[in-house]
């Protein structure tokens, strides 16, 4: 058995190395994209636009103005095409797991309950074959997030075309992720319990454990003569406002409890993740300025008597109530499905939002929530040239067809292990004909 595991790991590794696209070099020449419909991510759309970027930064985003184009530039005629800021997938395990069923390739969850010191960034595999399939759909940035435990660890924001995790880094250890206790627990069917949900009678105890942990961390950090305590020290940023607290919680009561608890510990930067029932407490969230990374749009309602389209319209309900919302994709098959992020946004349009509002959910809003909106998330002069050109509406799979994509101005490959196989076998049959 051991032999097989080793063998499989080795084999996988060889394949991955073989397949990975080479990261693009830094921008050498100014680029002007002309004539496209520019979707800025801010809510604004410019028809017949001009976008100029150089040295990785956007220099001009506006109406087509040919006087601004000079001969040193590479000019991309993008008439009838669309330009978007690179899409951002938050709360992602991309690069942490390669193949779900191959345990040797899984690096997403450490054991233990309190892991604020665990850092996802160093395990992020830039050579992942799954990661490279994001880019052809416009997903160019990701928040790499650990799982497991009560406190899972720290996330970092990366761009998806890099040689190694240091190259990839956009923002290091920007947030700590906590799984809030659930008001319900599943029956342990293997012990003969009914497999359904029942009230978690340990909820209050579990909440007070969290409270105690935070109090202890604070107390530890207040002493000068402290000995080393890696987990507590990893929490410093939570209390001085430099690290965000991402609370993974779904139910109405849990949301209120969690936000209140965090505020009682003077944690100012709170983000909810999942937040299925956030719509029930939307005004509370608005008042407290709590943004939401909303659970996967393409999912089914939790309850059989809920509206069939509830997961499709949650974003609309929250946006209407004034909550800052971004979309996440965690759950079953989350990594391979992350390339469908644009279509999650598209679905929110079918169920109420405007296209511009929907676009924000995967561009400017996640950038704001992750704290990278000074550089990313929208097409604005001065920001990073992280964007792509699609021949059609990128939120619709019918028309999402990328022709070019750039990260920090670098002209990245849209090829992948998958496109290579596609071409190879298409050719096989063509030569047979």
């Amino acid at each position: 058995m051991k032999f097989y595991i080793k063998f499989l790991t080795l084999f996988t590794l060889i394949l991955s190395v073989h397949a990975q696209q080479t990261p693009a070099p830094s921008q050498q020449q100014a680029i002007a994209i002309t004539g496209a419909t520019a979707h800025l991510g801010t809510g604004e759309v410019i028809e017949n636009s001009l976008i100029i970027f150089n040295n990785g930064l956007l220099e001009y985003v506006g109406q087509l103005d040919s006087t601004r184009i000079n001969s040193d530039m590479e000019v991309i005629d993008a008439q009838n095409q669309h330009v978007y800021p690179g899409f951002i997938i938050p709360n992602s395990t991309l690069g942490l797991i390669e193949i779900d069923a191959v345990r040797a390739s899984d690096d997403d969850a450490e054991i233990g309950t309190w892991n604020p010191h665990i850092r996802s960034l160093i395990a992020y595999n830039t050579e992942s074959k799954v990661v490279e399939t994001m880019r052809p759909n416009g997903v160019l940035l990701a928040q790499i997030t650990p799982r497991g435990g009560r406190i899972s660890g720290k996330s970092s924001v990366v761009q998806l075309d890099a040689w190694n995790w240091e190259d990839a880094t956009i923002k290091t250890d920007e947030g700590i992720h906590m799984n809030w206790p659930s008001n319900f627990s599943y029956g342990r069917w293997w012990l003969g319990e009914s497999p359904g949900l029942k009230v978690n009678d340990k909820y209050n105890d579990q909440v007070s454990e969290v409270e105690t942990y935070f109090s202890n961390a604070k107390a530890h950090l207040a002493t000068k003569s402290k000995g080393t305590h890696l987990p507590y020290e990893a929490m410093t940023g939570l209390f001085d406002g430099t690290t965000k607290l991402y609370i993974h919680v779904d139910d109405e009561k849990g949301i209120v409890d969690a936000v209140t608890a965090a505020q009682n510990h003077n944690i100012s930067d709170i983000v909810l993740v999942g937040a299925y029932e956030a719509y029930k407490v939307a005004s509370f969230l608005k008042t407290n300025k709590i943004p939401v990374l909303l659970r996967r749009v393409h999912s089914r309602p939790n309850k059989s008597d809920e509206d069939y389209d509830l997961p499709f319209k949650l974003a609309k309900m929250l946006v209407d109530a004034g909550v800052v919302v971004a979309l996440e994709a965690s759950g079953d098959m989350e990594r391979m499905n992350s390339r469908n992020l644009p279509f999650y946004a598209g679905t929110t349009v079918a169920f109420g939002l405007t296209k511009a509002q929907a676009l924000k959910l995967i561009t400017l809003n996640p950038a704001k929530i992750l704290g990278i909106d000074d550089q990313y998330g929208s097409l604005e002069s001065g920001k990073s040239a992280t964007l792509f050109i699609s021949s059609g509406d990128a939120l619709d799979m019918r028309t999402n067809q990328l022709t070019r994509a750039f990260i920090d101005g670098r002209d990245i490959s849209l090829e992948s292990h998958q496109t290579k196989l596609w071409k190879r076998y298409s050719n096989k049959y063509k030569t047979q004909e």
């Binding site: 069923a101 074959k129 069917w189 949900l197 999912s299 059989s304 069939y308 619709d396 596609w422 076998y425």
Partner: protein, 991 residues
């Protein structure tokens, strides 16, 4: 409640214990010839034959006569039961009385056991026809007393373990006697169930459909054995055959399983008596159609504790409805002419039996039916005319109740079993309740005795003063303790009085605080009747939430009907040579597409303005696992004998959700736990109809095969089942098909043969009557299976998943196999490493009939979008992409003569979309099957409102119930697990 059991065996002589042929060494031999007459009682000879003020005459444990004018013989002991009511003892058909639960077989770990533990018995340990309850029976005196006190005098008990459980024993609960009198019938009935034995860890069957298949095969094997074709000894089958002429009781445990049991029985001309689940009311017509007698538990759910609105919001509407509707189950069964017996089964305490029974009566169950369900119906099932009634010659099994049994205040005073008397309360007990008056030391007192007859309470007053007092009434003596005039002193007076029959006074002695005593008479002021509130509620006061079809959220109150519909001015995706037609009308009539054209005019048609909208045929999902109670029979490497058609679940809300995504037809495939899986069910999503009515008419026959990691059990700790490699998989197929060929040849030769369901199914494949849909990923194994099929001269119809299909599209084309794939799934296991989203487009380009499927309850409602991915990846045309979720799966399923395109004469399975159906912005507005609108956005809106209203009113009802002091249960959600390829009946979660 503590059981009061008085004077046990007072009339011991009634019971002559020993048989004539028993020697007697402790005295002289005697014979009891006296009669006993119980007089002046209301006697229920049978539920419909009632004698008011009658006499019951018994002798030697049998009823001699019952009637108004019974002549009492001279040698007769007479017992006056004035004011009391006599009922035949209740009978519980489904009992485990005195039979201990067997020990669970030891061993753990995930490695399954494939073979049996036993030798000389049937190959499957869960078939235990040779078990006899009597060998495990030990009379449980304590339990017997409890049962007697709650009205049950006869139980049919059994060893509740196994799919075939062997024989039960009919026991009269005579605490005074011994087993020679108690056992009324040994080996009375044969019990069956759908639950496995705990005495063996043999893994087969792992599913309910496997249980059904096992039973069917057993009947075939038993038949073959009985004809002398087997030269070894199988004690299980011998016992099974011997038990065939007895009544057969099957523990189904739910409405759905009851119908499944009946389906198995029908195949072999067996009418089971079926233990139900209390949910029969939800589709009572189907239940009635079984013609079975049911045994119905009455363990009604408690109201949920909904005070905490956060927790309450998690409750499912269907669970809340259950609380409200279940007590009406017996009434609804009775109204619809379903014959049933009642059982205590599943009740935690016997006390709950009467409470729940009264609740059922309060919900409209008629008392006569209730009594029959406890007496004559079970007697009839047992073919025993001597129990359940008090006709001459019947066993003298009866209870004496203090009044109407179906009154909450009444209690069982005595219970006689075969003439042997068991006393719980003194039948002659005087009712001392009333208001008494007495003077003591110059003060006038009033004593008010209230409460129950057996333990009354007292209030003692004079003028305005109330004295603390305590009254006890036991064995004909009243003891009253009360404080003296000076209530500040803790000094007590005591009063003792013997109660004589028919006395209206309390005559006794009072002892003062200082030790003096004197005679005292308390006289009853008037014979005022104690107000006994009859706790009989008017059924009209019970608000029962209307039952819907299915009886869950979004169910129909009445099944929708087919309409004549004219869609005006739509963009019509025909999937035919006409392509996409703009500004076109489509007429639907009699469930069919009746006309396609411009400016159609039809009188009486309902016009649907489809301007700007798109009309398509319904989406067809080749690979689904929704709407099924089981998906995998994983107990063996082949399970061709099982069929998903046995386990279709029409109540799954995912049917409704699929409709909301325009899906009209699905193939529910068996999972991928074994190389040869089970047979499919192709169903139309006619939300509201019964399971059997969902199944496609004249359905083509399919079976699931599977290759790769799942059948090798690569991703879980299981190393004992062949095959463990792809190499083994090939040989397994060759082995099975070789055997199937031999079987089929033998069968065709006209020689007698043992019916083997598995071989029958595989022979259908060989004879091209059944098609294979094979779960597959990598090219080597796909190629292999095609070669095996060619070796046996048949074709693989469909490769499902087929993620590496693009690598051998040419070979598939040559073989004639179709493909049904995911749009873009990959990377979830090693064998899907080379899966690419361009797969569908490449296959389609090569001329392979290609479909895109879901294998997922979420994705299935967005298959229109998944089709669009074939446009995005690989550049299929929109029309071709659309066919991948409609016409192509129809072709793969051999149903394209009826569905899969908009063509005159085809089934009117259509969907109206707000825009191009391939667009992410598309929404299904109406989903229609055979002219019936099963999903409609407008209707959906109304459902949402009514669901909210219903939730609110149910929550109010539960709050009221809690406020009234009813016990509640904490909020919980009985989760139905989602089924995927790898789902066993309760776990695993992969594709």
């Amino acid at each position: 409640m503590k059981i009061k059991f008085l004077l046990l065996g007072l009339l011991f002589s009634f019971a002559s214990l020993a048989q004539d042929y028993y020697p007697k060494n402790d005295g002289v031999k005697t014979k009891e010839r006296n009669f006993t007459a119980i007089t002046n009682a209301v006697i229920y000879v049978s539920p419909k034959k009632v004698i008011k003020k009658g006499t019951l005459l018994i002798q030697n444990g049998l009823v001699v006569e019952s009637g108004k004018n019974v002549k009492i013989p001279e040698n007769c002991v007479v017992l006056d039961a004035k004011g009391h009511t006599i009922y035949p003892s209740f009978i519980d058909l489904y009992s485990t009385f005195g039979v201990a639960k067997p020990k669970r077989a030891s061993g753990s770990g995930r490695s399954p056991q494939y073979g049996p533990n036993r030798e000389g018995f049937y190959w499957n340990d869960h078939i235990r026809a040779e078990q006899n309850a009597i060998h495990h029976f030990k009379f449980d005196e304590k339990q017997a007393k409890t049962l007697l006190q709650h009205g049950f005098g006869v139980v049919n008990t059994h060893l509740a373990d196994g799919i075939v459980r062997g024989t039960g024993t009919l026991v009269a609960l005579d605490v005074n006697g011994n087993d020679s009198k108690r056992i009324l019938a040994n080996q009375s009935v044969q019990y069956l169930s759908f639950s496995k034995s705990v005495q063996s860890r043999q893994s087969y069957p792992t599913s309910i459909m496997g249980g059904m298949a096992l039973l069917r095969q057993l009947y075939h094997d038993a038949d073959w054995y009985s004809k002398g074709n087997v030269n070894t000894t199988d004690r299980t089958i011998e016992a099974f055959n011997a038990n065939r002429n007895k009544p057969q009781i099957i523990a189904a445990g739910s409405r759905a399983n009851a119908l499944r049991a009946d389906k198995v029985g029908d195949m072999f001309n067996i009418q089971y008596t079926i233990l139900g689940g209390g949910d029969e009311y939800e589709r009572v017509q189907d239940v009635k159609n079984t013609n079975a007698t049911f045994i119905i538990p009455i363990n009604f759910p408690k109201p949920y504790d909904v005070e905490n609105s956060f927790l309450a919001s998690r409750l499912e509407l269907e669970s809340m409805r259950e609380w409200n509707q279940r007590p009406a189950n017996p009434k609804i069964l009775a109204e619809n002419g379903v014959q049933f017996a009642l059982t205590m089964h599943e009740l935690k305490s016997p006390k709950a039996f009467k409470t729940n029974l009264l609740n059922a009566i309060a919900h409209g169950l008629d008392k006569t039916t209730a009594l029959a369900a406890l007496t004559t119906v079970p007697a009839q099932v047992l073919n025993n005319s001597k129990i359940g009634n008090l006709n001459p010659g019947s066993h003298a099994n009866f209870m004496i109740a203090s009044g109407d049994f179906f009154d909450s205040k009444s209690s069982v005073l005595e219970h006689w079993i075969r003439g042997s008397r068991h006393i719980f309360e003194d039948i002659t007990l005087q009712d001392i309740r009333g208001e008494y008056h007495f003077d003591l030391e110059g003060v006038s007192y009033t004593l008010d005795v209230t409460g129950s007859k057996t333990s009354p309470k007292a209030t003692l007053k004079s003028n305005q003063t109330t004295y603390s007092s305590n009254l006890s009434y036991k064995n004909d003596w009243v003891h009253l303790l009360f404080t003296g005039q000076d209530t500040t002193q803790q000094e007590f007076l005591r009063f003792n009085a013997k109660i004589l029959s028919n006395s209206t006074e309390l005559n006794g002695t009072v002892s003062f605080e200082d030790g003096r005593s004197q005679a005292l008479t308390m006289s009853k002021l008037d014979a005022k009747k104690t107000k006994e509130k009859t706790n009989q509620e008017d059924p009209k006061n019970k608000t029962i939430i209307p039952i819907t079809f299915p009886n869950v959220a979004y169910g129909h109150t009445a099944l929708p009907k087919a309409e004549t519909l004219l869609f005006r001015n739509a963009t019509v995706w025909t999937n035919e040579a006409d392509g996409i037609l703009k500004n076109t009308d489509v007429l639907i009539k009699n469930g069919k597409i009746s006309a396609i054209g411009q400016n159609l005019n039809v009188r009486g048609a309902k016009i649907v303005d489809a301007t700007g909208k798109h009309l398509t045929c319904g989406v067809i999902d080749e690979h689904s696992h929704i709407a099924a109670a089981s998906i995998n029979e994983a107990g063996q490497n082949s399970s061709a004998e099982v069929s998903i058609e046995d386990v279709v679940e029409a109540d799954d809300v995912n049917i409704y959700r699929n409709l909301s995504g325009g899906v009209t037809t699905i193939q529910i495939l068996h999972g991928s736990a074994n190389p040869i899986g089970g047979r499919s069910a192709i169903i139309k999503l006619k939300w509201g109809e019964s399971s059997e009515d969902l199944i496609y008419k004249n359905t083509p026959k399919f079976i699931k095969f599977a290759l790769g990691e799942n059948v090798k059990q690569s991703n879980w700790e299981s190393y004992s089942r062949f095959p463990q490699t792809r190499m083994g998989v090939e040989q397994m197929y060759v082995d099975y098909f070789s055997r199937a060929k031999a079987y089929d040849d033998a069968k065709k030769s006209g020689e007698p043969y043992r019916t083997d369901i598995e071989m029958e199914v595989l022979a259908e494949v060989l004879n091209k009557e059944r098609f294979i849909s094979c779960h597959s990923y990598v090219q080597s194994e796909i190629n292999m299976l095609m070669k095996v099929a060619e070796q046996f001269d048949f074709n693989i119809n469909t490769f499902t998943h087929i993620l590496e299909g693009y690598k051998l599209a040419d070979k598939m084309k040559t073989h004639g196999a179709g493909a049904s794939t995911f749009s873009d799934w990959w990377a979830y296991k090693y064998e899907v490493n080379d899966a690419i989203p361009h797969n569908a487009a490449i296959l389609s380009d090569m001329g392979v009939v290609t479909a895109i499927n879901s294998d997922d309850a979420e994705m299935s409602r967005r298959l229109n979008q998944e089709a669009a991915k074939a446009v995005k990846y690989g550049g299929a045309s929109e029309e071709e992409a659309w066919k991948m979720v409609t016409l192509n799966p129809a072709k793969l399923l051999h149903i394209d003569d009826k569905v899969g395109s908009i063509k005159i004469g085809k089934d009117a399975d259509v969907v109206l979309w707000n825009t191009n159906p391939l667009s992410i912005y598309a929404k299904a507005e109406k989903t229609i099957i055979e002219g019936v609108t099963y999903f409609d956005l407008e209707t959906d809106k109304k459902h949402r409102i009514s669901i909210q209203d219903e939730r609110n009113s149910l929550i109010q009802m539960m709050l009221k119930a809690k406020n009234k002091g009813m016990k509640t249960q904490p909020v919980k959600v009985n989760k139905k697990l989602d089924m995927h390829c790898d789902t066993l009946d309760h776990h695993e979660h992969e594709h």
